[in-house]
């Protein structure tokens, strides 16, 4: 039972071989333009499918929004 912090909220994942890609997908962001940070470091898109989420990971998923 993997517990992570996603965009500041504690979230549980029912698998211990869950990748960033999978996380992005189940969140419905597969087609969205997002960037992912894992424990303070950028995870390039190319690495999303290779990066397995571990217990205690801090993950940020960001988008571009209106701003000045």
């Amino acid at each position: 039972m993997v517990q992570i912090t996603l965009n500041g909220a504690v979230v549980e994942i029912m698998s211990d071989s869950f990748t960033i890609s999978a996380l992005v997908a189940i969140r419905g962001l597969a087609k969205a333009r997002v960037a992912v940070e894992l424990n303070g470091a950028i995870v390039p898109k190319s690495q999303h499918s290779l990066t397995v989420i571990k217990h205690g990971d801090k993950i940020e998923i960001v988008v571009a929004v209106g701003g000045g």
Partner: protein
């Protein structure tokens, strides 16, 4: 007279519009799109925020409304109060935008004034330039630190005219004048523009461009104000290039001939 189109260059890319606009504070994406289209802006700023995991995924994303092939997207660091957060935010932006290098650095001092924190801004600018970013930097109107940001390698310096969102216009044209005289990279007034004449005035001082958001988004009719600003920046730029008449403090000067009057 200028026969060639009047373009300006940021980080090696030419732009014909000298009006840069933010994308915040609009009623909806439709208004955002209409206003920005009317403004004629080619460079638009965006903020980087956590994806709203709750929201309906069917609703459009800002970058669908303002596609990267039509606009130069300028991610900013709004809301960052230290160098580290700003650098981290722009690294996320670069990843988000497929390695896009042109960014707007703003490190704020507090949420009441949104005045730039200059010491942190200098630190962040150094780090970002070292990391290969093309940095357009929001700064105070201190001519010395504006020059220092150029020396660090920023591709544009963007002093405030007055506080972000205040609409107070250009409070100290003299400092801006010194910056324009001394800095070689483009100087853009960022923050404080409230209405069209403010934008025209900034351009008449010799600014290379103007960046605004609230003045358009919070006008009673944003789309119409966007059009006003497009004209204002053109007006101010043309007036600067045309070279204004000298001011004569006292004596009037007739526009009609003094000879040949009937008597």
């Amino acid at each position: 007279m200028i026969s060639t189109p009047d373009q300006f260059t940021i980080a090696g890319k030419q732009y014909s519009s000298r009006l840069l606009v933010g994308t915040g504070k609009y009623k909806d994406f439709a208004q955002t799109h209409e206003a920005i289209t009317e403004s004629g802006a080619q460079i638009v700023t965006v903020a980087i925020r956590r994806v709203n995991l709750g929201q309906d995924k069917s609703q459009p994303n800002l970058l669908d409304v303002l596609p990267m092939d039509k606009f130069t997207i300028l991610p900013n660091t709004a809301g960052c109060y230290n160098a580290q957060d700003a650098v981290r935010t722009l690294r996320l932006a670069r990843e988000l935008l497929d390695g896009h290098k042109l960014v707007k650095l703003e490190v704020l001092a507090d949420d009441q004034t949104l005045f730039p924190n200059m010491p942190e801004t200098l630190i962040a600018a150094k780090e970002l330039v070292r990391d290969g970013f093309d940095v357009m930097v929001y700064c105070s109107d201190d001519p010395i630190q504006a020059k220092a940001l150029e020396d660090i390698g920023c591709v544009a310096v963007m002093p405030l005219a007055s506080l972000i969102g205040s609409g107070m216009g250009i409070l100290n044209p003299w400092n801006l004048q010194i910056i324009i005289d001394r800095v070689k990279v483009p100087v853009l007034v960022d923050a404080g523009i409230g209405t069209a004449s403010d934008a025209a005035y900034a351009m008449e001082l010799g600014c290379d461009g103007v960046l605004m958001n609230t003045a358009i988004a919070k006008a009673n009719h944003p789309v119409q104000m966007a059009r006003a600003m497009r004209h204002a920046v053109l007006a101010g730029r043309e007036a600067f290039l045309a070279g204004r008449m000298p001011k004569k403090i006292y004596q009037g000067s007739p526009s009609s001939p003094v000879e040949g009057k009937i008597s």
